[in-house]
């Protein structure tokens, strides 16, 4: 039987751009270029490696996001994924993590899966909780934040490097996995991959297709509310000295003045 892998990928504003909030305090997507969250490339990479090891596997990449989020799907397809699912609906604007996870869980169930692979965190929201929530919603084991992962005989194994210890984990499929940026360099799409991606199927779904009511998602349906967003004042310009042989001593004097020594 074929191993069905669903990779969750997010379309985010480029972190090296000048990111802002709009007037309704959601992410401004107009002024900054969007891209596939770099940390989700690691998820696509591990999916490709797991699929290589399996006798027969199919990789679906899934995103919940605006029209332009197709770019993120194309990138993942050009890396080697087989097909894509794009959940897009105007009512999704401003959805929080509870709404997003509800939509993703329904879309994953509709697609069919043995293994869900996500990134460790998005580069915009950076919550790092969505994979755990998906495991809770889908009712399957959570095997998250792995720096090493393998799948064999219906079992997923991996290493999770925690704050105080490194743990070896094991669970039966179906399961939800997330991988860190320590899991291995993501490949660059080849020219052949980019050409092939243009012909791969991208299925579009809206809320109706997933039996989700508009009230359950979006800014209105969110269970959290952002009341204020203020740009952090620029740090006041500091003192910069050029080392003429006394730089270390000058710095020590500064630290002493600030009572650090």
């Amino acid at each position: 039987m074929s191993l069905r892998i669903v990779v969750c990928v997010k379309y985010v504003p480029d972190a090296t751009g000048d990111r802002h909030f709009t007037d309704d305090l959601t992410v401004d997507r107009d002024d900054v270029d969007g891209l596939l969250s770099e940390l989700d490339e690691y998820a696509v990479e591990q999916a490709l490696q797991i699929a290589d090891e399996a006798d027969d596997a199919e990789i679906t990449v899934l995103t919940v996001g605006p029209e332009d989020a197709k770019d993120a799907l194309r990138k993942a397809l050009s890396m080697g994924a087989d097909k894509a699912v794009h959940v897009e609906d105007d009512d999704l604007h401003g959805t929080d993590v509870m709404g997003t996870s509800l939509v993703l869980a329904k879309a994953i169930e509709k697609t069919g899966y043995d293994l869900v692979i996500a990134g460790m965190a998005s580069t915009d929201g950076t919550m790092g909780v969505l994979p755990a929530i998906l495991a809770e919603r889908l009712g399957v084991p959570q095997v998250t934040l792995l720096s090493e992962v393998s799948v064999e005989d219906g079992t997923v194994k991996g290493r999770r490097d925690g704050d105080t210890a490194s743990e070896q984990l094991e669970a039966s499929l179906p399961a939800v996995v997330s991988v860190t940026d320590q899991s291995g360099e993501a490949r660059y799409p080849s020219f052949k991959g980019i050409m092939a991606a243009k012909k791969k199927p991208v299925e579009s779904l809206d809320l109706d297709d997933l039996d989700i009511e508009a009230e359950e998602v979006g800014l209105e349906g969110a269970w959290t509310k952002v009341d204020e967003a203020a740009e952090r004042p620029a740090r006041t310009a500091g003192t910069i000295v050029k080392d003429e042989g006394e730089g270390g001593k000058q710095l020590a004097a500064f630290l002493a003045e600030r009572k650090f020594v």
Binding site: A15, M127, I133, A135, E167, L169, A229, G238, T239
Partner: protein, 320 residues
């Protein structure tokens, strides 16, 4: 007065500092009731009582260590049902966030992660978060259910506030999901004898400019002269010069110390994401145009191999 549930992060009964900070914030919202799980749970009570916990609910079942995350969610949910708190606060470790998020789904509540401050508000707790690599500060609330909020280390001062801290056994019946992910082996991280990176008052970091694993000795020597933790940029970690557990930045640790000293680090946005909220920032870099200098209170343009050893020596001399 309303009770506030505080999830305790501890290692074999030794309470980690972010939990004590959380008690300071919890007292702004109500009376803290602590939940301590796993080996040594009851040993946490004295420290928690000293910092304001009116009650300490404990359970030391083996499941907490043998299986990933879910047993702790079951226990926190049991505590939630027993206490009916006004809010649930959890330290923002990777595991803490996952526990909090799964609890929030179960009790149909919104969740806010990585708060850096918390105040009582007319419509429930108001959380301050920093967004987009700390270039924005937001204030948010939870509008559905009992607020579940995770809070970053160094978000509040640890304050003594003696309270009863009565230990009570917490009854937990584990769900079927609890045993889903088995922990088959665990290797504790070796202690370096230096302060914990996320908790340290001073962090001394090295980057690609350090140019070799052996050269990190000069970064460590400076750190030791100041009683500081050692950090590293991803470039230094990827090169294999320093362990990933010491990486500062978006995919490493996020730190907010009183003093951050960056040597041979350019100041890429992903590095800044992990240190930009430090109180005082100092950099040593041979390139006067390096973006890290935009953040500094004090910067030295120069060769770190000259400046850092001289600084260390001068600090040691001044300490006498």
């Amino acid at each position: 007065m309303a009770e506030v549930l505080v999830y305790v992060d501890h290692v074999d009964g030794a309470v980690r500092k972010p939990t004590l900070e959380l008690l300071t914030l919890a007292r702004r919202l109500g009376e803290p009731v602590a939940v301590a799980l796993g080996n040594g749970a009851a040993d946490t009570a004295a420290a928690l009582a000293e910092h304001g916990a009116v009650k300490v609910l404990t359970n030391d079942a083996a499941e907490f260590a043998d299986y990933l995350v879910v047993p702790k969610v079951d226990a926190l949910q049991a505590a939630y049902e027993a206490v009916q708190p006004a809010a649930v606060l959890v330290p923002s470790s990777a595991e803490g966030k996952e526990i909090a998020a799964r609890l929030a789904v179960r009790i149909k509540s919104g969740i806010i992660t990585d708060a850096v401050d918390l105040e009582a508000g007319a419509e429930g707790p108001v959380a301050t978060q920093s967004a987009f690599a700390a270039s924005y500060t937001t204030k948010s609330r939870i509008t559905q259910g009992t607020p579940v909020i995770t809070v970053k280390p160094n978000s509040a001062a640890v304050e003594a506030a003696p309270a009863a801290g009565a230990v009570e056994a917490l009854a937990v019946s584990f769900s079927d999901a609890a045993t889903g992910t088995k922990v088959t082996a665990r290797t504790p991280r070796e202690s370096t004898g230096r302060p914990e990176l996320t908790e340290a008052a001073i962090v001394v970091s090295g980057g690609r400019g350090v140019n070799g694993a052996e050269n990190f000795a000069i970064i460590e020597a400076l750190a030791d002269s100041l009683g500081a933790a050692v950090g590293a940029s991803r470039a230094a970690v990827d090169a294999g010069w320093y362990p990933h557990s010491n990486q500062v930045g978006q995919t490493g640790k996020s730190v907010s110390p009183q003093l951050y000293i960056a040597s041979g680090i350019s100041g890429a946005i992903q590095h800044r994401a992990g240190m930009q909220t430090s109180k005082t920032i100092v950099a040593i870099n041979k390139d006067a145009e390096a973006p890290i200098f935009d953040l500094v209170d004090y910067g030295v343009v120069g060769d770190l191999f000259e400046v850092v050893p001289q600084l260390t020596e001068e600090v040691n001399t001044r300490k006498g």
